[in-house]
């Protein structure tokens, strides 16, 4: 790969007395923005579009009947239900808890705040297999807390919660920090209760961020594998998630089957992300 991005003389975009478009339709293309778009699309295609297309093409190789047989296999269907259901549930929890944590981090001052601030990202930094090991020692048979969820459905929920924790926090936090406090104060001085202030002023501003975090969190949950390896036990119809089914197919050199299941996950994720986006727009408009 040798895509050379030469830093040639830039078109003087800043000095360009372009009329600002009122409709919000964007600026006309300049050479620089055209180059930017080109690089962005190339990058995106190489990393995302082409591999995704390859997955779908592979899935289609088995034909419609093969595809249907794979995804309606009882064990696979159970795994998909478990994965998607748990990911949805975890996302709901994250929306509430993530917003709460972001709020505490931005609006409150307390001892250990900086430490907490840094620790939030640990689930990102930790290899997920290590996360699984940590969760197993804390919430497994030898739990010092006396809580044993190993090899049960709550284990899947717990592992998803752990790996998706940072998403909503990290998307809401900066928006909350930038929020104009004066509007809140004005509302309060006009007699709005704290709840009304939160609902009418703060929530509409942070809803897009929450939605973005929720979408990320869902997508991450659906694809989780590493942290479950040790914790969930991979029991069919009980704690087996979709990634394990995909791996089983790959181990049997059944790439079409693996791609078929992956395609289903892709479509579900897409639907959820779009739904979240629509919901979010509605909420903002109403707020």
């Amino acid at each position: 790969m040798s895509v050379a991005i030469t830093a040639g003389p830039r078109p003087e975009t800043d000095a360009d007395p372009r009329p600002r478009s009122d409709s919000g339709a964007g600026y006309p293309m300049t050479r620089a923005s055209g180059l930017g778009l080109g690089v962005a699309m190339l990058w995106f295609s190489l990393l995302v579009l082409i591999p995704l297309t390859a997955v779908i093409v592979t899935a289609s190789e088995a034909g419609w009947s093969g595809f249907w047989r794979t995804i309606t296999n009882e064990q696979t269907a159970a795994a998909i239900r478990l994965t998607v259901g748990t990911a949805l549930l975890v996302t709901l929890v994250n929306v509430v808890m993530g917003t709460l944590i972001a709020w505490v981090l931005v609006r409150d001052r307390f001892f250990g705040q900086r430490v907490l601030e840094m620790l939030i990202d640990v689930p990102f930094a930790l290899p997920t297999i290590v996360a699984g090991l940590v969760l197993l020692s804390l919430y497994g048979p030898k739990s010092p807390l006396g809580i044993n969820v190993a090899n049960t459905r709550p284990a899947v929920f717990l592992a998803f919660l752990f790996v998706t924790l940072p998403f909503v926090v990290r998307t809401v936090q900066p928006v909350l920090a930038e929020l104009d406090r004066e509007a809140e104060e004005a509302a309060a001085s006009l007699g709005a209760s704290r709840f009304t202030v939160f609902r009418r002023i703060i929530l509409p501003s942070i809803t897009p961020a929450i939605a973005a975090g929720a979408a990320l969190s869902f997508a991450r949950g659906v694809s989780e594998y590493g942290s479950l390896v040790l914790l969930s036990g991979n029991l069919p119809h009980k704690t087996e998630v979709t990634s394990v089914r995909i791996l089983s197919s790959i181990e049997n050199d059944n790439l079409e089957g693996a791609a078929a299941v992956a395609t289903v996950l892709l479509v579900i994720s897409l639907v959820v992300i779009v739904t979240v986006d629509i919901l979010q727009r509605r909420l903002v408009r109403r707020g």
């Binding site: 830093a7 296999n73 497994g140 036990g233 991979n234």
Partner: protein, 339 residues
Amino acid sequence: MKWRTRATAALALVAGLALSACTGSPSSGDTVTLHIVGFAVPEAANKAIAAEWNKTEEGRNVRFETSYGASGDQSRAVVNGLKADYVHFSVTSDVTRLVDAGLVDESWDDGWNKGIVSSSIVVFAVRPGNPKNIRDWDDLIQPGIEIVTPNPASSGAARWNALAAWGQVVANGGTEEEATEYLTKLFANVVSLPGSGRDATTSFLSGTGDVLLAYENEVILATQNGEELDWVVPDTTILIENPGAVLKDAHPKATEWLNFVLGPVGQRQFALKGFRPIIDGVDLSGIEGVKDPNNPFPEVENLLTVEKDFESWEALSTKFFDDEDGIVVKVIAESGKAQ
């Protein structure tokens, strides 16, 4: 503008370094680099064997570049272009994949060792002192016994366990139906199906289950690492045979390496890590972590092998592990629904 010049200079430097790293190493002197691709378990043994080989005239100027991981993943990686001179996998079907891809000669398992370079057996790892008094296969299907085994669906290596469980019924006079019935009962007692043998060991050592279906070399290694567990060798069990092969376009030194691995020095290094040697006359003194240092690898009364009891890997792959109709695949799927 200054930062940009600096950034460009830095980039150029990095690119230059990367280039020199690519071209620099192999051309120095007459040093040969062999690429070993293997499953994770024998990494330590292979390293020790390499160190021994480097001491000999033959292997003096050989350097190794190694890659270890899950057996199936490693095999697929080689098919997809990972450079390899010598491969060492957990199950024969992972080498067959390379034969199908034209990377390994079809005659790879024609030699006296039939392509096998290391071996072990399936054993029951239990809690210290064996509190549930587990002695034989029948004890595993008693109500209330919790079993941990790696997942035969997603881990090729875990297939040895399922084969042993099924095969011991038939070997002791049972019918195939009875064997399948036994397997169903066994999987009904399984509480965890981790992704690989190593994961299963970790899960068991973290307190899950009463018994772990494990490989003898894994439990010996765990004991060497100071873990607290005990193990039982059942009267009937299966011989685990890990294949090794030299690739078609490998450096000639790779064949010499394979011969060294198969010889007494190579097999002694395997034995030190808990593998059963595949040849007689290997020095078995001073093996740590075994129960009886004077008899580190006690003889098994009735030892099943793939060749003797299951025809071939090809036949058993379809019969037991086919994605839809395999006996083991079906049993595992049913086990989850039953409860």
